[in-house]
Symmetry: C4
Subunit: 336 residues, 4 copies
């Protein structure tokens, strides 16, 4: 991983410093780029909220070979991790590798290691097109995310997304605040319940709503037909001053327990972080920036190495907290 990271640091110069701890301090306000919007508080709060959680170490038990696998929305994952949808290599990551190489490496690395990757959307079109193409390349083993466009553009993209052979489609509804897109004549907007039902109903694949930060909207997403939600503040890139996702996750996961799959992203870097999120009620997590760094810095091999590292860390953390299965993590794993 060290080599992958050094390589990424070189290739992403001016866009990402590949810091020892990826915490949003070095890239405040860098949107486009890899940073958080404005003061970067939402990005930083994600990391701080995870840091604030402490683990109860326990070693009087028999779980020395814990089971890290989970089943989320019908997909078996070797570890409870998905690569989050991030695109725009050119303006966010320095553009030293192509969008297609970037996203294909990510999806292939994920598939090879028994997990699954998501693809992003945006302007220009080659972002989602590269994503769709990569998903076809791995026989549909990817999850395309579409932004909340206005009607026509949205339905066309959802239709094309389904043609990739994917079983799940997502929408990062929190992209609704991107005024830049509106100025380019490509409006993204919030969706009311009626619209959301219509959208989800128009798609055969199972649907994920990404960008949930309150229990009330989590329940609304289920009412609208979503089979999964992602607790997310969009990596701190749309609204400044959001709480960290680890602050809101527990209340949200409790509010919708058993009614849909709950995923979460935001500041997750290590297997330790994964375990903390599971303890707060997530079924699986999404990881963004670290996968981008791994893909830019080492292509498919980098992605695989990062997944290996996550699995080793998660396994060790499970052993040392007495956790038998990733599919059931007791809240007692957390200190207080």
């Amino acid at each position: 991983m060290k080599e992958v990271r050094n390589n990424a640091r070189e290739l992403m110069k001016g866009y990402c410093k590949v810091c020892p701890v990826c915490n949003g301090n070095a890239c405040v306000g860098e949107v486009p780029g890899m940073g958080g919007l404005g003061t970067g508080a939402s990005f930083k709060n994600n990391v701080k909220a995870l840091e604030a959680l402490k683990l109860n170490m326990r070693t009087i038990h028999e779980f020395s070979e814990p089971d890290t696998s989970v089943n989320v929305m019908g997909i078996k994952l070797d570890i409870p991790v998905l690569a989050a949808p991030i695109g725009g290599v050119e303006f966010n990551m320095g553009g030293k590798i192509s969008e297609l190489d970037y996203i294909t490496s990510k999806l292939k690395g994920c598939k090879a290691k028994g997990i699954i990757g998501c693809t992003g959307d945006g302007v220009p079109p080659f972002i989602h097109e590269s994503g769709f193409s990569a998903i076809k390349d791995v026989e549909g083993h990817g999850i395309p995310f579409i932004k909340p466009w206005e009607d026509k553009e949205l339905y066309e993209k959802l239709h094309k997304a389904e043609e990739t052979g994917c079983k799940i489609i997502g929408m990062d509804i929190d992209a609704a605040g991107l005024i830049t897109l509106k100025k380019m004549g490509r409006p993204v907007t919030p969706k009311c319940m009626r619209k959301l039902r219509e959208i989800i109903g128009s798609v055969k694949a199972d649907f994920i709503i990404k960008g949930i930060m309150t229990p009330d909207e989590a329940r609304m997403a289920i009412d609208a037909g979503a089979k999964g939600i992602v607790v997310s503040n969009h990596g701190g890139r749309v609204l400044d001053s959001c709480p960290g996702t680890a602050e809101v996750l527990f209340e949200i996961s409790r509010a919708v327990a058993g009614q849909c799959s709950v995923m979460v992203d935001g500041g997750i870097r290590t297997g330790i972080d994964v375990l903390k999120m599971l303890a707060l009620g997530a079924d699986a997590v999404m990881i963004g920036r670290p996968f981008s760094i791994a893909s830019v810095g080492g292509l498919q091999d980098g992605v695989e190495k990062y997944i290996d590292q996550l699995k080793a860390e998660l396994t060790q953390a499970m052993v040392l907290t007495g956790t038998e299965k990733a599919s059931f993590v007791d809240i007692r794993v957390l200190y207080r």
Copy 2:
């Protein structure tokens, strides 16, 4: 705005560093100048109190074109923002532009963008004289603030202020602690209820009391006849160790709900900050230092650009928190 700020940084050298985040750290104790008094704690607490507030992001709704306008004390504002009364370009801001250019640019920029600016007072007389002149120049579309002088000086100034054609007059009562003025034989003093009633009664315009930091004094201001109050610690320039205004605002606005207009200043920099203050109960906010920087750095054009930026930020924040109207912001917008 970047150019405006760079320009201001050059012109205000030695008085204001135009820091990336204007938080009172670089100018501790610089009074005169742009800093906070003593340890600068009151200035810094303003910024910290706002930073500590977090927003609930919500995007399942239909408010993609929120209404940012409000009506405060009979004045329609396109965004709920007033330019706060700050004068003394020469000893506070470096003196590279004239007091008159400074304040005229501010009032004109505000009027052009559908909001309103306030003018300051002090020693020497050209501070309030420039202010009065600028208000006449915009046909009375400004709010003159008078310091709490002793009787004769006070009434003379209030009388002249009325002659500008303004509809509202304010007094920054917290200037009462400025010992420097007393030493110059120009005493400013606290005002007891009897005096305050007399003062407010002597003026035909609606009256604003600025410098309220407790619920009890908010109620007293109303009893004395004020139609508006400004929750303010004078930008941290009169008493060290005050709480941030965002710490005390909620309790104050609740205490006087519906009985007067509640404004607040202190550390507000962005549209995000504006929304937070509205959620705590403010009808509108006053912004000080950033308007000074905009005016010194870009004259009327700089002021207008800053207002545009505030509106864009506020709009995006309203969309992403599901806020339909700036005239009614739910406390639920704040996390916890």
Copy 3:
């Protein structure tokens, strides 16, 4: 004051940096010297505890000429401040002025400005001898503090202290932990109630116990006959990890309200700090390091200038918090 401080910075080189804010950070562990013991936490906690207190600004009242004077243990003080007992110019402050000049300047400056100074004790004997001599020089207008020596040394010193003409004598009982003195064959020790009664009973002057940090020992000091106590952790110089005195003062002053005079030292630098301590229940405060800096840097004149500054700051703080008299400060002056 600026010149006095610059001068002190020069003369105290290697012993005190005369920092912008005197907070114990630059002199961690410097005992001898001016720092706090060990990690310096007790010194730093004094400053932090005061910083954490916030003031309620109030300006709707009639107190524009507040009365700063108090009467403590029969002594009228123009401001509620005493110069704390600190000696050892040679090994603590760089030795560029003589012990006698140092302590005489302090006592004379205090007397000239209507307050009173205390003198210290220690090894070698010229510390207390200089102090006694200085007190005689100001016709008994000083308070000698004696360390808690074992019997013979203690009674001899108390006897000599009385001969200075002073009306009050103090003992900094918390010096009991100074192992260095014990190693020099000059043991200082804690005192049990029986001994303490004996000691206080042996002296005609009123007695102050300095070094109280808990309500129980405050009550014990009164039971033993003390007329005054000083809440103090000895400037952080005897026991690491003590709370700041402003943390414990309120509970202590409430426990002994009306039964003895309550003084406090620790981190007090400005008139703002003085007001905070009065609000927590102190009748007056002691200030240590700043008086040493003033005396070394400007002799009697430096001491007087510092007292003037304290009075101006305190007056302004009283005006802006609506405080009429320093002899009665309402807890409502503090925010929350």
Copy 4:
């Protein structure tokens, strides 16, 4: 001690910076080395948790010659301190002195000063072999700690450990997460209650379980036959994000009060820290890194000097908190 530390700084270059305060900041992630695992949070939390505790100073009492000695598991200790088991001079401490010199110096220094040292275990075998040899060298006055190996290796080592003549044997059960050992074909694993009973039953010596971080596992250790426990997160070297031991100690010691000896390690540097841990319910403490530094930097003499320093600090802290005996420290010693 200063010379010992300077010497250690030279010899441990690249492995330990011998910082002014040993807090885990300069060695984040340095495992092997002297740092904490991952983000170093568990190491840092140990130090922070101790720093957060404050002491009530009390000097109205008669305890000027406190008794620092305790009796733990049948062993008389002149101060309530044991040298913790740390081995691996070559890869953790720079290898400038031999494993045998290192551990022998530690045990001899401890014995000479009336306390006792522990020995470590690991790969390669010369770590535990040096430890066993050193224990024999001090006629069994040492406590060997064995890692939680799988059956055969474990029982062989326990058997050899008993042959050293020691009266107590320990197991650092929290070493169970060391994946590196598993990869070397030398698996260490958690132990279920059945296994733990078997292990403890197989040994004639009294048994200590080290690595307890929760009340439930403390009770389980007693049920399994342990006569002592060590509250420990392994110096932050096995699981990131653990709370500091001083955070969990009180609840644990209360849960098992009177049923076994309670020891604790983690961030303890000074006699002040020792007193804090005793106040939270520990019968004695273990100190790790500082003993390693003392031994590498000054061999037996360095170890003895460090113990002298601890005793002087502890004595002074006991005098100044009114603590008569280290074997009974009142929780009232802690502020709040």
